[in-house]
Symmetry: C2
Subunit: 150 residues, 2 copies
Amino acid sequence: MQKETTIINENQAIRLLKQNGLSITDSRKKIVQLFLEQDGALAHGDIEKKAGEKFDRVTVYRTLQVFVDKGIIHTIPTADNSIRYALCKDDCGEGHHHDHHVHFVCDNCGVTYCLDDVVTPEIKLPKGYTAGHVEVVVEGVCKNCKTPFS
Amino acid sequence: MQKETTIINENQAIRLLKQNGLSITDSRKKIVQLFLEQDGALAHGDIEKKAGEKFDRVTVYRTLQVFVDKGIIHTIPTADNSIRYALCKDDCGEGHHHDHHVHFVCDNCGVTYCLDDVVTPEIKLPKGYTAGHVEVVVEGVCKNCKTPFS
DNA sequence: TTATCTTTTGCAACATTGTTGCTTTTTTGC
DNA sequence: GCAAAAAAGCAACAATGTTGCAAAAGATAA
């Protein structure tokens, strides 16, 4: 079972890389797989750890950069100086990200979730300001950490 | 004129430090003054530069930490791995920040503004999630960078 | 499949950013 | 001004991020 899931993810990873015109390499496959296996978002450090010391730090930095450029992953700003990355939905592509969903960081487990179904609200800005992208990060307790009777 | 403003800011800085039970030192005064003189938010690096190489890097780090703890300044998350800081309104204090306003980052000039009058909206979360603090960062063009006829 | 060209990786060296312990200096309260 | 307390400065270190270049792996076409 474990193995089967891994293979499915590997195939999906390869498909995703090909779609974006990227060479299929071990590190790219592995990193995409990590995102596919993962419920939440990943920071650079997480990826290095989860990859099992297999790849050079530089490779991870460059791979993440390529993925962001190609619209495969997007960044999530946090208050602790550690950018997190998460897979983009299908409508993102090279040069244009469309991540209009809210992000959620759990106080308890620290996991960052993409709430794909929660759309960022319209913000009414003061006169003179023009809005581009709106980023919303909610901090609180996630569904897994919620205590049953509270 | 220049000098007079500086003095006013210095007095205000001293008042702010005293209110929070902090010793009055050159670095603290200077750093508070930088925030008072400044329209937008400041990153650690900005402060080091603006202070004119006068203070040790460690002093700046520790001062900012103290200010955050005391509720004098608050942090603003960004997507570029550089936390920014801005003055809190009066209703923040030690151990409890109340920054329910929206932040704005200008694409053109890079300045980060606190839009004190724009309140963060209510976000409806999926079942099981409990919201604590909500952080909204809008990216776009600010009032100063707006071209007259567009 | 192999030869060749292109892309990516890994390494080394470096730059920047942030942290910690400890001594000296400054501030505070008397 | 003096003693106690707080903060600054220094040094050393840790973590994070960047760049150039040679070696390795991937893509392409005969």
